[in-house]
Point group: C2
Chain length 338, copies 2
């Protein structure tokens, strides 16, 4: 099929995303959309760029649309907000045909439908590499005027994890090693859970909103911390604890039974430590949080009612971060590291 023109692209987008939505006072088609606001609004921007965050060799257009939206909705949800809208800066290569764009829109729409999020508009540009820059926003309760955030932990607080870590790293590892289409198919067949977690992570936004409501109900707006684990626990736990300024660390427990079977199998084959592999993994889009120890039983009861695995990771205390009793020598991900 021939590459789509700008008018074709806009017509396809319009077929998938209605211009009107309860959260919009004015939809696409003007210089600005207009949002109906209800109170404090959480806002985030995440870039999803070819060869930095994904490769077209193993990301289908559906996956690209899905993940570009997922990483943003994850941020909105981890602040305790209800995702309500997003705007997209879409830099295409000019080679995309109607089929590609329809699949891309379907991937985005799977998540905007699930979270009832409006596509308010955006912009198109052309460049040799794909770049999808999404800004998403969501409504916070009036009683949670700064959202859930990092750096509120004190000594003795419980560290907790909602969702699994390490799978997306495994998916990335096996998909990166697959040099051609057949090898990609083999990787998808051999490591289905890990590949799905890398290609199409499900943002835990309903879980973040539930934890936000819990914080309000228990008066813990400034004492319950939450973030999404996008760069791996190894990098994100120090951010959650604000270790650099507060000097807090923890003895993190990440038992093998908390990890997915695929991680155990892969690390067994490669002679790696599964817990360390999962601890260092990035792009999990799990939620990591802290709460006062006395609130943990009630929060644990809440989390038990959500259909997602969770665990206590340890207790905040002054000192370094250790993993299962030893100090990991690890790093995490920096797009600008050499």
């Amino acid at each position: 099929m021939r590459p789509a023109s700008e008018d074709d692209i806009l017509a396809i987008v319009s077929r998938y995303f209605p211009a009107s939505h309860p959260s919009l006072l004015l939809g696409r088609g003007d210089d600005c959309a207009v949002i109906q606001t209800t109170g404090p609004m959480a806002v985030t921007t995440d870039i999803f760029a070819e060869d930095a965050h994904f490769r077209q060799r193993y990301f289908s257009p559906y996956d690209i649309g899905w993940k570009a939206v997922a990483v943003n909705i994850s941020d909105v949800g981890s602040s305790g907000a209800k995702p309500s809208g997003l705007s997209i800066g879409l830099t295409l290569t000019g080679k995309e045909d109607a089929l590609w764009l329809e699949s891309f829109c379907e991937g985005m729409k799977a998540l905007t439908d699930r979270f009832d999020t409006a596509l308010s508009g955006g912009d198109l540009a052309r460049s040799p590499l794909l770049n999808v820059c999404v800004t998403a926003w969501g409504e916070l309760p009036e009683a949670l005027p700064r959202g859930l955030r990092r750096g509120v932990a004190q000594e003795g607080d419980i560290l907790f994890l909602v969702g699994r870590v390490g799978l997306a790293r495994l998916g990335l590892t096996v998909l990166e090693a697959a040099n051609d289409g057949a090898a990609v198919q083999d990787a998808l067949a051999a490591w289905p859970v890990a590949c799905a977690q890398h290609l199409r992570p499900m943002p835990l936004a309903f879980e973040g909103m539930a934890i936000g409501s819990f914080a309000v109900a228990h008066g813990l707006q400034d004492r319950l911390g939450l973030m999404d684990v996008s760069d791996g626990l190894a990098r994100d736990i120090p951010r959650l604890l604000n270790s650099r300024q507060l000097g807090l660390g923890a003895d993190i427990q990440l038992a093998e039974e908390m990890l997915s079977d695929e991680i155990g199998r892969y690390c067994g084959q490669q002679g790696l430590d599964p817990a360390l592999f999962a601890f260092e993994g990035g792009e999990d889009y799990a939620l990591a949080g802290t709460c006062p120890a006395e609130a943990w039983p009630a929060l644990e009861a809440l989390l038990s009612n959500l259909a997602v695995p969770f665990s206590c990771l340890g207790t905040a205390r002054p000192g370094p971060i250790t993993l299962n009793g030893t100090a990991p020598a690890s790093a995490g991900f920096d797009h600008f590291s050499a």
Copy 2:
């Protein structure tokens, strides 16, 4: 100097842009920033991409920062909203050093200071070409709940222009023709007004807000149309009039005395029609609008008090768009045209 690391970049950004701002309940550093909302909010996204929108050969880092913000603030202002915040998806090549980044931030800051706009956060990525994707938002008066927009004109309405058109096209033309640093300097010296308009357009946001207040004061929220002229009058007037659906056109008058001297001089040298050159030009970031004829004298009085040129372009009537009495065979700009 050595290329900046991710931490270096964030430290430089923090030196230029405070994390706190009256419009922010929570500033940079978490998964989301939190915006204090006051009512309807206009939101827009514009990509500013290397080799699609600018070339590093003649755009300084200061110019890149300036223009990436300017094109977004222009959209917010043209809806009648007060720009209050922006979020930036910044894809760098990894070669930028501290000096480059400081200059880039200075260019952005010149406009965020002028319009008292917060930088709420954003994201960093790395790719072979620069890509600056900004989402900006602004507060609308409660009495202007959908903002100023296109497609509200009726037969007999006055078309008006605030600001000048054609200069940015001239700047683009002469800068594109400059093959090396010396030639760029020559172009800047020979066509200073045109080059400045292309490199560092000043968004007419205060003017847009004033026209929004005028619409509210005169009960014209649904009868006064406004947009920014980003793709040239030739493409944007049909959008403003919603010509495709409403069948409206106009006899546009663009007299030579309304055009800048540099356009007259350049078109004289090249044997071009200055009015057609200006009519087809893009990236002007002027404002084009429509208003009922009976309101025009009052609006004209308001515009006379603003420190920016303005003119009446013609009167909306059924039929085609003509320029100074003849039908232009023109086009405008499509990133995806062949």
